[in-house]
Symmetry: C2
């Protein structure tokens, strides 16, 4: 397939064909958000475990409240007080009541709870200050079951609570805790090894000799890996020789995926594809998109987590800083999400009114960096100045990418365009 220009969708499909859902691991529930449940979670308990009170008040027999009113209180003898977390040893019999706090189990014999506001509790509290209340006046009739939360109302013992495939968020963490679970089985996070290539690159923090530039791709790509739930492993910088590249890649052959930045265009020093051909299976493409035309993909001989021999997917991103970020979103992100067991990986997109002109000279799908704003319920997109693919600051200004389809030569100011959102800030919505 070397050399043939293919569509984005075809490239995604081929790439994902080489990428598998990872195995499962047990993690502490607090570390699990963003990961995908690897098993059905059923409850071994009722939640709540017992019928309990939804209010602070008096647990009574509803029959004892018949005819009660402000003018004609029904007086009941108070035989106990029960707080959340305790079980009363007493039973409510006709003519008696148990003072009960929110969350406390409903005592035997009671079938309803009269909240404080519907009793003369407040008047009685003052005079007895400190001493327990021994008698209470009920001021309203109440029906059976009022203010009673039923055992298993939230979760019934034995039922499926969270299904395999659920993406864990804070609410799911709370549900797992409410079942008493400290750990949960989830699909592992992929380890993504990142290697920058190029004799021109200098590591950050070092002095910059003439003709050299700082290696930025490793860091923007590592931040993206982490953002989407993966674990970045930085392999540093390889020189533009096959030996240097092979040597550096060796440190990443037990990763779940390898990403290289640079070394995939047509120059003499573009060695990623040569190494792929030598050390694995190459699938070098040019993709019908801009930025990001040259893309290398293949598998390289490595080891899985058990140490067994395995082809590790290697994605060779272009070295241009903007191209590497855009191709990451289009190709690496779906791969990471698939490995993590997620079922969908489209970025959010909106329809917006374009405020500039974007041209498409050679029939590729153009992704133009844009600032999207919502004004009066309508999205507007304006282009962030220079679209040179070396201009990383334009990526920093942007929160979206205006899409110009392959068959469209130009989108003009006023046209409605589709915008892939890079960041879904509160300000946008």
């Amino acid at each position: 397939m070397t050399g043939t220009m293919i569509s984005i969708e075809e490239a995604q499909e081929r790439l994902l064909g080489f990428v598998d859902v990872l195995g499962k691991e047990e993690v502490p529930i607090l570390d699990s958000p963003g990961q995908v449940l690897a098993e059905d979670v059923c409850s071994e308990i009722d939640v709540p475990p017992l019928d309990n009170s939804a209010m602070d008040g008096y647990a009574v027999r509803s029959g004892d409240t018949e005819g009660a009113s402000q003018g004609s209180p029904r007086l009941l003898r108070v035989i106990d007080t029960v707080a959340a977390g305790y079980v009363s040893g007493q039973k409510v019999t006709p003519g008696t009541a148990i003072r009960i706090m929110t969350g406390a189990p409903i005592p035997g014999g009671a079938d309803t709870v009269v909240q404080f506001e519907n009793t003369d509790e407040v008047q009685r509290r003052e005079p007895t200050a400190g001493k327990p209340i021994t008698e209470i006046g009920i001021l309203h009739e109440t029906e059976v079951g009022l203010n009673v939360r039923r055992a298993g109302e939230d979760i019934r013992k034995g039922t499926l609570v969270l299904a395999e495939g659920t993406v864990i968020r804070p609410a799911e963490v709370g549900v797992l805790a409410s079942l008493g679970k400290t750990h949960v089985a989830v699909i592992s996070r992929p380890v993504v090894a990142i290697l920058a290539t190029g004799d021109e690159l200098v590591e950050i923090g070092q002095p910059l000799p003439a003709g050299k530039i700082y290696n930025s791709n490793t860091y923007s790509v590592a931040a993206l890996v982490r953002r989407y739930g993966g674990i970045p492993r930085i392999l540093g910088i390889a020189l533009d020789t096959e030996d240097s590249l092979v040597e550096a890649l060796r440190q990443g052959l037990d990763a779940d995926m390898l990403i290289t930045c640079g070394g995939v265009s047509m120059g003499d020093y573009d060695v990623v594809k040569d190494v792929l051909a030598r050390e694995g299976e190459i699938n070098f493409w040019t993709v019908r998109m801009k930025p990001g035309k040259p893309l290398a993909f293949g598998t390289i001989k490595g080891r899985d987590r058990t140490g067994a021999s395995k082809g590790i997917p290697l994605l060779g991103l272009p070295g241009n800083p903007v191209s590497s970020m855009v191709t990451f979103e289009i190709f690496a992100r779906p791969a990471i999400f698939k490995m993590m067991g997620r079922k969908s990986w489209d970025k959010p997109a909106v329809e917006a009114v374009l405020e500039d002109t974007v041209t498409n000279r050679d029939g590729r799908r153009v992704f133009a960096r844009a600032i999207v704003e919502k004004r009066d319920g309508q999205y507007f997109a304006r282009i962030t100045g220079s679209q040179g693919s070396g201009v990383l600051t334009s990526m920093s200004l942007a929160n979206g990418l205006v899409i110009v389809p392959e068959d469209t030569a130009e989108k003009q100011a006023g046209d409605i365009v589709r915008v892939m959102m890079l960041d879904w800030n509160e300000e946008v919505v």
Copy 2:
């Protein structure tokens, strides 16, 4: 103010009045996403540092290409090859060319780059296999500056690159790396100490005695703290006594904020507000919202990061699992974002067609858990079954909260409602 019911906006304003933007810290650039720049970042270098080639080709003097065409190539002597990261020691003089790779500095004397495709490079490469090309035919006229990326095109030395207050994302990480920076000054992440209160609570992983329930709030709240960029510190479970609470809170008095879950309603065992009154300044409110009416807020005597005495903001969330999550979003989230230096903290919201009925019995603002879907460009919201505030699984099913305003008694199926989005999944947009 104890006892008076106030609006959500007033409660937010009062709370945020007690919360300050934190100090700054230096962090490795890869750890900075989500944090806010604490200083202007100016560049000490041009990016790129030198004029360089945007293509693989030949660096030439444009005058030497005049009249060049397929039928009448202009022959130039090739005097050197230069790759990215290297500076040629040669100068392009009339009649000469230097072979140049993408990213390599433009050699002295040259003013343009002719890409390989516009030369007879390919024909010459085969026969000379391995041997350097000594002569090249230029097949097209080229203009001055073509295929040349100018020094400082992305970032000019001395200019402001990222302004104080910028929220760092992967693109900003890349920009910082391109300047050679390993660390960056950002506003610190707040340490949020979390304490669950209640005699009924049992720690996860322990056996569950009769009448007890597992502590889930600590974990859903800790997951939320982390989600919004804070650092949760778990203080465990306090019993419903002032002594137990004070003892437990002592472990959190050097945190940036304290959150308690439970102990804020009207029952005898609701001690958070008593402790606040004793150990600090209390500001106990009931807020015109449902779920989440009872909310305690105040400051408690503690220490700042330097050890100096300081009032630590304490937010007492209701103990009900759903109420604690909803009030967290409305109150704790803005507080965390303000401490982190962020300027905005509204959750994304959409207008949706309601598919069920939501009633509002007592003039509070109702937040009803809902599943929001987009169908044919329109959002629809259906309610997730039981709205009992103990029913945490309904929070797990939901991705949004349908808002019924204080002055509206009911929203019916077919009405347009505003929905605060809890999770902005790709599936929704």
